[in-house]
């Protein structure tokens, strides 16, 4: 008998969600658009040849020939030292050389292209080791989109969980529907569980679109365990749905809830490694950032998709998510305001 109630409540949540075109957009289309746009914007550029200018003089011919043999450099010649400097300041060339012992090298150290050119020149003068370096890096490197896509999966889970549930609950409170439910024998746990249930049904839909797009169109690798991936998504959904209920536990207005949601989600958008690695934050922040639910999801999804992790490798992330789920749901049940 109680199961029929949970089923009806879940069905209603699902209907309401599907009848809200904006919700569909934010849950499915937005992450897709974002991954395409950012994927293009940060597509890996071919590393360009350094523009190296060799001043005329004794030994210049030999120096130019040596640099050209090394490769990765476009060697230019000029006789006017003043003009060469001017071109360096304009970044028309990356480095200016005058042959001799030692070779005189001018570079703007604040420009990455300048530093790269200097390294190439130095490497050419020493011998051919830069080639081995470059090859080693190319084998382990990922494209930005490979890093970004798992982050967008995590961000999508958080956004739809917190927003969809938070706004729906607060709206029902504002309309006095929660109060209306309270005078029926409806089970309050079933009511809250129906939000979880509908999230899971919708999740299937979300991933049926998002994942094939990422793997087939964006060509993001997926080398790890499907079980570990699925469990991460499921636990992440639990954690964010609980967080959504917690956020919605007390606010009376949609505006109030919206502010609270931003306060909760903003640190995770920035600090949980969606768009860039959280390792760029100061060391003392890292342990805290690793305890955020979105960090746990992102780390686990990346480990599975990119590094081939299995269940045993991501259990600590899963533990973080389980703890967030239990704590948020428990507190939400306790402090929930029905009227």
């Amino acid at each position: 008998m109680r199961l029929a109630e949970l089923q009806q409540l879940t069905l209603v949540r699902l209907r309401l969600f599907l009848r809200e075109p904006e919700a569909i957009f934010w849950a499915i289309c937005f992450p897709l658009i974002l991954s395409v746009v950012l994927g293009f914007a940060f597509a890996r550029e071919e590393v360009e040849d350094s523009r190296v200018l060799v001043l005329d003089g004794a030994g210049a011919e030999e120096l130019a020939a040596r640099l050209e043999r090394q490769g990765g450099m476009l060697v230019l010649r000029d006789s006017d030292a003043e003009e060469a400097r001017r071109r360096l300041r304009k970044a028309a060339v990356d480095v200016v050389l005058r042959a001799g012992d030692p070779v005189d090298l001018r570079v703007d150290p604040k420009r990455p292209e300048g530093e790269l050119a200097r390294l190439r020149v130095e490497s050419a003068l020493r011998g051919g080791t830069a080639v081995a370096h470059a090859q080693a890096e190319e084998e382990t490197g990922f494209r930005y989109i490979d890093f970004l896509f798992p982050g967008l999966i995590g961000m999508g889970l958080m956004g739809t969980g917190v927003w969809a549930i938070g706004f729906a609950v607060v709206d029902m409170r504002r309309k006095k529907l929660l109060k209306r439910f309270l005078v029926t024998p409806m089970s309050r746990a079933n009511f809250l569980l129906s939000f979880m249930g509908s999230r899971f049904l919708f999740l299937a839909l979300e991933f049926a679109v998002l994942l094939p797009f990422g793997l087939l169109v964006l060509d993001v690798p997926f080398v790890g365990s499907i079980a570990a991936f699925t469990l991460t998504v499921v636990l992440g959904t639990f954690a964010f749905a609980s967080l959504g209920l917690l956020v919605a536990a007390r606010p009376q207005t949609v505006e109030g809830a919206s502010g609270l949601m931003n306060v909760i989600m903003m640190p995770m958008w920035l600090g949980s490694g969606v768009f860039f690695s959280y390792e760029r934050f100061p060391d003392f922040l890292q342990p805290l950032l690793r305890l955020l639910p979105l960090t746990a999801v992102n780390d686990a999804v990346r480990a599975v998709m990119l590094d081939g992790a299995g269940l045993a490798d991501v259990w600590d992330h899963h533990l973080v998510l389980v703890l967030w789920s239990l704590a948020s749901f428990g507190v939400a049940m306790r402090i929930f305001r029905w009227q």
Partner: protein
């Protein structure tokens, strides 16, 4: 018809405070099974606070409540299975249909009424597939009533059920409530419309500032005023009564009491012919130009005015 059945609601010494404000101040109530008990009073009289305590939504600070012979403290679930509630201004979800809304509410109860019967009862059969936002105000109120009747309740709570509805929509709602009563159901109704109270309520409790100011059947309450009729008149805008005029009006032959309310002079009259004659004589003698002199039989509104010096509705 209700002889022998215990009262559906019994309340003693009910009080509720919000900080400094005492919203409900020690009231007693009894709703006989199969009857309609009306709580009548202006906004802020404590009607909604009282009905919400009876519905188990608010806890009283003092007093005893028994609903269908049970207490909210020990039998909340059992009570909820047996009552139906229409709150003041519940907004149902716009994007659900009538049918979907009713099905959801039906799932909360152990033995719900078949949805088809319910749709027929509240006259929404044609609207079953319509979304809530397509319904008129009256249809929405009937949907709310449908949700309240879905569990075949023994006791129905209606909090200002027809506020904001047009006269035809109000009558259609009253007919449904009357049908519920005819089948032995008990109703607890709050309203600030005297016509609604007079039509639906068998017993009335008039509340003002959290206290009971009168109780009895509508006829008894009107009779308790002891007046044969009410005479009302207005003065032209730029004219005032002479000094001591209100006292003089109250002392006219056939008049029991006079009041000035919202620009109108209201006389509680014991003998209509005598009072009208003496009033017109007095107006001529004092040279007071009166307009809109009218007389009507006392209503619940008049009782309320003479008990509290206020109108039921301030708009």
């Amino acid at each position: 018809m209700s002889a022998g059945r215990p009262p559906a609601i019994q309340v003693r010494g009910l009080s509720r405070r919000f900080g400094e404000l005492t919203a409900v101040d020690g009231i007693d109530l009894e709703a006989r099974a199969g009857s309609c008990l009306g709580l009548l009073g202006p906004n802020g009289a404590g009607k909604t606070t009282t009905i919400e305590m009876l519905e188990g939504l608010q806890r009283p600070d003092a007093g005893e409540i028994e609903v269908l012979g049970r207490s909210w403290r020990t039998d909340a679930r059992a009570i909820r299975e047996r009552i139906g509630v229409q709150l003041q201004e519940t907004v149902f979800q716009d994007k659900l249909s009538v049918l979907e809304t009713l099905r959801m509410f039906a799932s909360f109860y152990a033995a719900p009424k078949p949805i088809d019967d319910l749709l027929a009862l509240v006259n929404l059969k044609d609207k079953a597939a319509s979304r809530v936002h397509q319904l008129s105000g009256g249809q929405r109120q009937r949907l709310a009533l449908g949700c309240a009747l879905i569990n075949r309740p023994e006791l129905l709570f209606l909090d200002e059920p027809t506020t904001g509805l047009d006269p035809q929509a109000r009558r259609r709602l009253w007919e449904i409530v009357e049908e519920f009563k005819e089948r032995g159901g008990t109703v607890l109704l709050t309203t600030h419309y005297m016509d609604e109270a007079e039509r639906l309520a068998d017993d009335l409790v008039i509340l003002d500032e959290g206290r009971v100011v009168a109780r009895g059947s509508p006829a008894e309450i009107i009779r308790s005023l002891g007046a044969e009729s009410i005479v009302e008149f207005r003065l032209n805008d730029d004219v005032d009564l002479p000094e001591g005029g209100l006292e003089a009006l109250g002392a006219l032959p056939g008049v029991r009491e006079a009041r000035l309310l919202a620009g109108a002079y209201v006389l509680e009259v014991l003998d209509t012919r005598l009072a009208l004659g003496s009033l017109i004589g007095w107006l001529e003698k004092t040279g007071t130009p009166a307009a809109d002199i009218g007389t009507h039989r006392p209503t619940l509104e008049d009782v309320f005015v003479f008990l509290t010096g206020k109108h039921l509705r301030e708009d």
